[in-house]
C-alpha cells in the first residue's frame, strides 16, 4: 500500500500538469484565433519540445508495461526492436518529416488524413479526397480508440498495482486530468507537458535498473540471479534459421509503425521550421534509445527484485516500493503515468483534429468561424476521453495486445499511404485508398490468422498494393501524377 510520501509526489505532479494547461488557457486566449493555433500551436514548436514530444507521444503504456513485460519474457533479444525503433525514428525525422512539414504548411493541413485528402483535393480530385477523408477518419477513430483505451487501462493498472487504489476511479480521475489540460491548452499544453513527462520518463527508466543492480549487489550478481531464475541473456532468443528470421522480421515490421502514428506525425506539422529537424533527430534518437533499452533491464529486474511475478507487465509498478523510498517511488510512479498521459494527450488532440477538420468542417458546417471550430475541437477532446474511459471499463487483459493492434493498424492504414505520397511521385488517389483498405484488412487478418508472426504480412502487402494500383491507375489515366506540384489542378480545398 502506498505511503503518504508517494501520494504527495504523485498528487503534486498531477497538479503541475493542470497548471500547464491553465497557463496556456490564460496566455493563449487572445492569440488563439485560428484552429491551427489550438491544434498545432500556431506551427511554432521548438526543437527540444518537438523532439521530446514526438517520442513521448508514442511512449505510452507500452514503455513501462508492455515493454517491461517483454523484457522479462524475452530478455536481451527483445532489444532488436529497440534497434529497429530508433532506426525508423531516425529515418522518419530525416527523410519523411522535412517534406511533411513543408507540404503541411503549403496545404494548411492539420493531420495526416487531412494532408492526404488535401494532396489530392488540390489536384481537382475532390471525390477521391473525400473518400480518403472518410476512410482515414474511420481508421483513426477505430485504431486510435483501441490505442487510447489501452492507455487508460495502463493508468488504472498503475494505480491499482502500485498505489493500491480503485482501478476505475483512477481511470476516471486520470482521464479527467488529461482531458482538462488538453481542453484548456490544446497542442501547446500537449507539447510542454510531453516535454516535462519525457524527462521524468527518462529518469525513471534509468534509475530503476541501476537501483535493481545495486539491490542485487552489482552487475555480476545481477546477471547471475537473472540467469539462474531463467532470464534470457542471449541476443537471438535461442532461435536460429527461419525461426530467427521471422523473429527479426516481426520486430522490423512492427518498427515500421513508427512512420505512421498520426499523433506523433502531427508534431512535425507543428514544428517551427524544417531547419530544426536535423538537430531534433539527434535528440529524438537519444530519448528513444534510452526509452527502448532501459525498460528491458527493468523487466529482467523482475527476476531479482520480486519474489513472484504474476503479471510481467506489472514489474515496474510492483518493484518501485521495494527499491525506492516513498517520495521517490511516487515520483517514478508519476513517471510511468507520464509516459501514458503524454500519449493520451497527443491522441486526444489528433482525434479532435481529425473529426473537426474531416467531419465537422468538411461535411457539416464548412462556413464555421475559426472560434467555433476551436470549441468544436475542444468538445471532441472531451468526447474521445469519454470513449477511452468506456474501453478501459471493459479492462482487457493484455495492454501489449491492444497497443500492438492499434499501432500496426495506424501504421499500415495511414503511415504507408503518407510515406508514398511524400516520397513517390507516381502515387495516385486510388493507390492510397487501396493501401488504406488493405492495410486495415491485413492488420486484422494477420492478428487473427497469424498472431505469432504479427505484423510480418501487413506492410509488404500494403506497400505492394499501393505500388500496383498506382501503376495501373497511372497507366490507364491521362491525369497528372500526384508528384506534380500542387496547384496544377483545381484548388477545390482551400482554407
Amino acid at each position: 500500500m502506498a505511503g503518504v510520501g508517494m501520494w504527495a509526489s504523485f498528487g503534486i505532479y498531477m497538479v503541475m500538469l493542470l497548471a500547464i494547461g491553465a497557463y496556456f488557457w490564460i496566455t493563449d486566449k487572445r492569440e488563439m484565433k485560428r484552429l491551427t493555433d489550438y491544434l498545432l500551436a500556431s506551427r511554432e514548436g521548438g526543437t527540444w519540445t518537438t523532439a521530446f514530444s514526438q517520442v513521448a507521444s508514442v511512449a505510452s503504456g507500452f514503455t513501462f508495461f508492455a515493454w517491461v513485460g517483454l523484457g522479462y519474457l524475452l530478455g536481451i533479444s527483445a532489444l532488436w526492436y529497440a534497434l529497429f525503433t530508433v532506426f525508423f525514428q531516425l529515418f522518419t525525422w530525416r527523410f519523411v518529416a522535412p517534406r511533411f512539414r513543408n507540404k503541411s504548411e503549403e496545404y494548411d493541413s492539420l493531420t495526416m488524413v487531412d494532408h492526404l485528402a488535401r494532396h489530392f483535393g488540390r489536384r481537382g480530385e475532390q471525390r477521391n479526397a473525400d473518400i480518403i477523408r472518410v476512410l482515414g477518419t474511420i481508421i483513426v477513430v477505430a485504431f486510435l480508440g483501441v490505442y487510447l483505451g489501452a492507455q487508460m487501462v495502463a493508468i488504472g493498472t498503475t494505480a491499482e498495482a502500485g498505489l493500491g487504489l480503485n482501478y476505475m476511479s483512477v481511470v476516471i480521475v486520470g482521464g479527467l486530468v488529461v482531458a482538462i489540460y488538453t481542453f484548456m491548452g490544446g497542442f501547446n499544453a500537449s507539447l510542454w507537458t510531453d516535454y516535462l513527462q519525457g524527462w521524468l520518463m527518462i529518469i525513471a527508466a534509468i534509475a530503476f535498473p541501476i537501483a535493481a543492480v545495486s539491490y542485487a549487489g552489482g552487475w555480476g550478481p545481477f546477471l547471475d540471479q537473472v540467469s539462474a531464475a531463467g532470464g534470457a541473456l542471449n541476443w537471438n532468443g535461442g532461435q536460429s534459421g527461419v525461426a530467427l528470421f521471422l523473429f527479426l522480421a516481426g520486430w522490423f515490421t512492427f518498427g515500421m509503425g513508427m512512420m505512421g502514428q498520426p499523433h506523433a506525425m502531427q508534431r512535425f506539422q507543428a514544428i517551427e521550421s524544417e531547419r530544426l529537424l536535423s538537430r531534433g533527430a539527434v535528440i529524438a534518437a537519444a530519448v528513444s534509445a534510452i526509452r527502448m533499452t532501459f525498460p528491458i533491464f527493468i523487466g529482467l529486474s523482475g527476476y531479482v527484485v520480486l519474489d513472484e511475478v504474476t503479471n510481467p507487465e506489472h514489474i515496474m509498478v510492483e518493484g518501485l516500493p521495494t527499491l525506492f523510498p516513498d517520495v521517490i517511488a511516487g515520483l517514478f510512479m508519476a513517471g510511468i503515468v507520464s509516459a501514458i498521459l503524454s500519449t493520451t494527450d497527443s491522441m486526444l488532440i489528433l482525434s479532435s483534429s481529425e473529426l473537426t477538420r474531416n467531419v465537422y468542417e468538411r461535411f457539416i458546417n464548412d462556413d464555421a468561424s475559426q472560434q467555433r471550430l476551436i470549441w468544436v475541437g475542444r468538445s471532441f477532446v472531451v468526447l474521445f476521453m469519454a470513449l477511452a474511459i468506456v474501453i478501459a471499463w471493459a479492462q482487457p487483459a493484455s495492454i501489449f495486445g491492444l497497443i500492438a493492434f492499434g499501432w500496426t493498424g495506424l501504421g499500415a492504414g495511414l503511415g504507408a499511404a503518407l510515406l508514398f505520397v511524400l516520397l513517390w511521385s507516381r502515387t495516385t488517389a486510388w493507390g492510397v485508398v487501396a493501401g488504406m483498405v488493405v492495410g486495415l484488412g491485413a492488420t486484422v487478418w494477420n492478428q487473427i490468422y497469424l498472431p505469432d508472426h504479427f505484423p510480418v504480412v501487413v506492410y509488404p502487402v500494403t506497400f505492394a498494393v499501393i505500388i500496383i494500383v498506382s501503376y495501373v491507375e497511372g497507366s490507364l489515366s491521362e491525369q497528372s501524377p500526384s508528384g506534380m506540384d500542387a496547384g496544377m489542378g483545381v484548388e477545390s480545398e482551400t482554407d
Partner: protein
C-alpha cells in the same frame, strides 16, 4: 558467473550507435551552413 556474449553487448549498444550516427549527420548538416537537412537531397 553469468556474463553477456559479444552479440548481446552489441545489441545493447546498437540503438546508441544510431544516436551517434544522427549526431554525425547533424554535424554535416550544420557544417553546410544553414542547418538544413540536405543528405538524400531532401530539403
Amino acid at each position: 558467473m553469468a556474463s553477456l556474449t559479444l552479440g548481446s553487448l552489441l545489441l545493447i549498444v546498437s540503438p546508441f550507435l544510431l544516436v551517434i550516427l544522427a549526431f554525425v549527420l547533424n554535424r554535416i548538416d550544420e557544417s553546410r551552413g544553414d542547418g538544413y537537412i540536405t543528405i538524400g537531397g531532401i530539403r
